[in-house]
Subunit: 351 residues, 2 copies
């Protein structure tokens, strides 16, 4: 925070509470947003992207409408019911592309490996990457592997980047939600976060619940075919859960939202685990569902199309976009509470 | 190595010497090649890329000829004379695209950060990323940041992915070198590796030498304009140095090479450091030079074009491609020695 530092001139307000990186800076909550908007983007200077923060960047190369997205995976443990770090890396990137109406055409995978990791662990992860990519219909075209000494990394990190080709029509954007839009959710929430946490800590809930990690690009293609430009915004509620995704869209679009609590599909094991652990399922990470903001005239068509698709069989309508104000939840008893962006970390290393 | 494992059927020969990941698996030498060809690529199965291992993958999306490349950076220290991990991440990816005759159009940057890292360190790295990207004329369009607990990563790792647009004409390829091709080197070798090692260990050589990290795409464009499809193969000799790059091209192209030792430009501080440390400059990493395999009829034109360019001012002719056999060096005294691929790690965490 040296005032002579040119970056400080662009970003004068010091980041709150700390001069060091906290776990919460990677949480997907308010600290993450602060880190991005007040440090990382200003530091990039003239090389920084413009516009709202999106799951994937859209760009035109010649005649081609493309999208690109990168995600780092540091999940602990590496393997858990329903998935592993390799499947997560593929699905997360495929899904980020899909949220901008792009179908994946190529993936790259980078590994940072700790010296001493059993080769078989690396083989299992790479096999999972290959299987997930093949199932999603996308080749892994390039990659890189670096090894650091014992203790310089915790086993294995995976970074995946996806190149996608945009479907025709305008891309859904975080800034696209409009008052009156119907909010649709493709399936149950909380499964991924509870599964990873329970497996890591040996809590036992992992016997009854599994990660929802799955690719959503085919579901998105179905939705866009059903409604075209009636789908205004899409987001997969990963880190920070549904509540953070809703707040990000609300902020980028300059709108409010009203969510019906009883419409939220929370599986019983997730509810039980959250009650015991003092977590709110609305903030628990998902890796296989999406939230869509759809023009009211198209909502029923899109919902029907989603339910006809295996990845959207549990789709529900959860609320509406309002003119402004916060994201509020109407509880089963009729009261209203604000569903705010969490400051920091509810669950570290969940993806 | 469970024989029931489907991956084992594709990759029956166990990796030599170890069932665990060694530092050498990330060195760019023979262990790296083994890891890629005998574990990572077979594990990908149907999602694996075909063809030789290249710096960047070339792919067509509709009418667009694109290239994509990913690199993970784990260099220790983060800052050193001539550069830092941020500049390295930009230049390395820009250069990998350039080796396939692609000009960069977009970069993504992912950070894996250790909890407790001073925010100012992250800001300095992000500022360096932005400055290097701006100087290379490419925007950083997207990214991701994950934070892991203290001790779960060594400060900061950076993964960069670049999307490039292919220049017209066939892409140079690792398999493209032909007997009779002239081998050109764009500038001095060994500076990056010696600088990083000396800075890390406090050896003092870093007072007289600096990393050569720089973008090479404009030099490549100049070379291709001068010779078009006379440039058969290009490689930037990073991890594993010039010797590894020559061996990789020789293996992919099914050719041999004869290199003139006295033609190799080794700056005096690099020579002194290598003598003291028992290193061979031909195996020390570079981040700002390239080696080109050029049809004999085009070699003089390309060399002249390189020398007229700031990034190629020190370009020299270092040898010729032969019909087969190993990569050999003819020493100043007229003897010949084989310049083999190193098995493992000469210098860990150099990039």
């Amino acid at each position: 925070m040296n005032p002579a530092d040119p970056a400080a001139a662009v970003c004068p307000a010091p980041l709150p509470e700390t001069e060091r990186v906290l776990l919460g800076h990677g949480s997907g909550g308010r600290l993450s947003a602060d880190l991005i908007t007040r440090l990382l983007v200003p530091a990039l200077g003239a090389a920084a992207p413009g516009g709202p923060l999106e799951d994937a960047a859209v760009l035109a190369v010649g005649e081609c409408e493309l999208a690109i997205s990168t995600d780092a995976y540091v999940v602990d443990p590496l393997f858990f019911p329903g998935g592993d770090i390799g499947a997560l890396a593929v699905h997360g990137t495929v899904n980020d592309l899909a949220m901008r109406a792009a179908m994946p055409v190529a993936l790259s995978i980078a590994y940072v490996v700790e010296e001493g990791l059993p080769l078989d662990v690396l083989r299992r992860v790479a096999t999972a990457v290959g299987a997930a990519a093949h199932a999603a219909g996308v080749p892994v075209v390039t990659g890189d592997t670096k090894v650091v000494g014992r203790g310089a990394a915790d086993r294995l990190f995976v970074v995946s980047t996806g190149l996608g080709r945009r479907l025709p029509g305008p891309a859904p954007t975080a800034a696209g939600a409009r008052p009156g839009d119907v909010i649709l959710l493709s399936g149950p929430i909380g499964c991924h976060g509870v599964t990873v946490l329970s497996t890591r800590e040996g809590l036992g809930f992992e016997a009854d619940v599994a990660s929802d990690t799955r690719p959503l690009h085919r579901l998105v293609a179905t939705m866009l075919t059903a409604a075209g430009d009636g789908v205004h915004a899409l987001r997969d509620p990963t880190r920070g859960g549904l509540a953070s995704a809703l707040n990000e869209i609300a902020a980028a679009s300059g709108v409010g939202m009203e969510i019906e609590e009883r419409a939220l599909p929370v599986p019983e094991p997730v509810r039980a685990a959250c009650e015991l652990l003092g977590l709110d399922p609305a903030y628990v990470a998902n890796e296989g569902c999406l939230v869509a903001f759809v023009a009211p005239g198209h909502a029923d068509t899109v919902l029907t199309a989603m339910r006809a698709h295996p990845e959207g069989a549990g789709a529900v309508r959860i609320g509406v976009v309002t003119d402004g104000g916060p994201v509020v939840v109407r509880t089963a008893m009729g009261s209203r509470r604000v569903l705010d962006l969490l400051a920091g970390e509810q669950l570290p290393r969940i993806c």
